[in-house]
């Protein structure tokens, strides 16, 4: 089961991609993913319902968030109303340890994304703030990374023993599926996704010439 765990739709302030167009693109270009997760910036989209679109297109479409913390950007999978009451998703500079802790307490999981990225990745902040507590999983393959940003993320995961995920970080339709996450089990909903991430039953992969490449 392969899911792109990091994507943005027009619900995010900086994306021009419509979810319908992501589905059309995946099918037209035969991108080998089984679905994707919409991780909108600084909010959780509790309005849009993509279940019918998912059924029509044969893709699993799930919703999550990308929040901004003192250690950079963090994906939150398994967002609930109760979790949203514990911190303001719209704030920048949220304490990472609070986001991680509250997510775990509410059955969700917080995953620092593009950790090798300047200023908005975890690696840069570890030097000044120390190692954060509670992180289990990080994004080691991000489709928007430049230079050696993904290498730095992988080195961090190896050093700390973090589980690894991949995502395209697509903001435009043609970027969906550049990177993704392969799961050992079938994923049908967000609860199963959170469980698989927590158990580390996944690996980060990237698409190269139409085939998936695993990281070492």
């Amino acid at each position: 089961m392969i899911l792109d765990l990091h994507s943005h739709s027009i619900v995010s302030d900086d994306s021009r991609a419509k979810v319908e167009n992501y589905c059309q693109w995946i099918r037209k270009k035969a991108i080998p993913v089984d679905g994707f997760v919409l991780t909108e910036h600084r909010l959780y989209d509790d309005v849009s319902d993509y279940s019918a679109l998912g059924r029509e297109s044969g893709l699993l479409i799930l919703k999550a968030s990308e929040v901004e913390t003192d250690y950079g950007h963090v994906l939150v999978f398994g967002v609930t109303d109760a979790l949203r009451r514990t911190f303001d998703f719209g704030e920048i500079g949220l304490p990472l340890e609070k986001v991680v802790h509250e997510s775990a307490r509410h059955g969700a999981i917080a995953v620092p994304c593009h950790p090798g990225r300047t200023k908005v990745g975890m690696c840069a902040h570890i030097e000044t703030r120390g190692e954060p507590e509670g992180v289990q999983v990080i994004e080691t393959l991000n489709g928007g990374s430049r230079g050696n940003e993904n290498d730095e993320a992988l080195a961090l995961a190896e050093r700390k023993g973090y589980h690894r995920i991949g995502g395209s970080d697509s903001h435009i339709v043609s970027h969906i599926g550049r990177c993704a996450t392969r799961f050992e089990d079938e994923i049908h909903d967000m609860d199963e996704l959170v469980a698989a991430l927590g158990a580390g039953r996944c690996e980060a992969i990237r698409l190269e010439d139409g085939a998936w490449i695993s990281l070492p």
Binding site: D13, H41, K119, V120
Partner: protein
């Protein structure tokens, strides 16, 4: 920069009104510059001749921000425009553009913290029909 205070003071505040007379020749020039080939955008003799949907992006108001808005010009850059088309613009129309601050928010990126100011300009025609909403994002680097 206290974003919450800026929001409270400025969001929703209308601060500018300007008028534009729509002429045929600039409509055609703009359409051709956009690479349009449809006669309804390029040929004034077409019975459905009208401006291209993004035409209102070319217009500016009398001022970019309300008087007194705290902006540091050397840290400010253009975040682009989004045009929401509502109705056709025809040659001979007289448009009114009214500006207000639609949103102010912060985010972080590779270059650090940024404040986004969304200047919304709503265009109506001589019949008071809403024809376009243009959101212009101005980005102020923080720190």
């Amino acid at each position: 920069m206290d974003i919450a205070a800026l929001n409270e003071k400025y969001v929703g505040l209308e601060f500018d009104e300007v008028h534009f007379d729509i002429e045929t020749e600039p409509m055609v020039e703009f359409a051709e510059a956009c690479g349009e080939t449809l006669p309804k955008f390029t040929d004034p003799s077409d019975p459905d001749f009208q401006a291209v949907p993004s035409y209102t992006a070319r217009f500016h108001g009398g001022r970019a921000l309300p008087e007194g808005f705290p902006i540091v010009q050397e840290k400010n850059f253009d975040g682009g425009k989004t045009v929401e088309w509502k109705a056709p613009i025809r040659a001979g129309d007289r448009l009114t553009g009214r500006s207000h601050i639609h949103d102010i928010f912060e985010k972080t990126g590779r270059s650090g913290g940024m404040m986004f100011i969304v200047h919304r300009m709503e265009f109506t025609n001589q019949n008071d029909e809403l024809i376009a909403i243009v959101d212009w994002k101005m980005i102020q680097k923080l720190g």
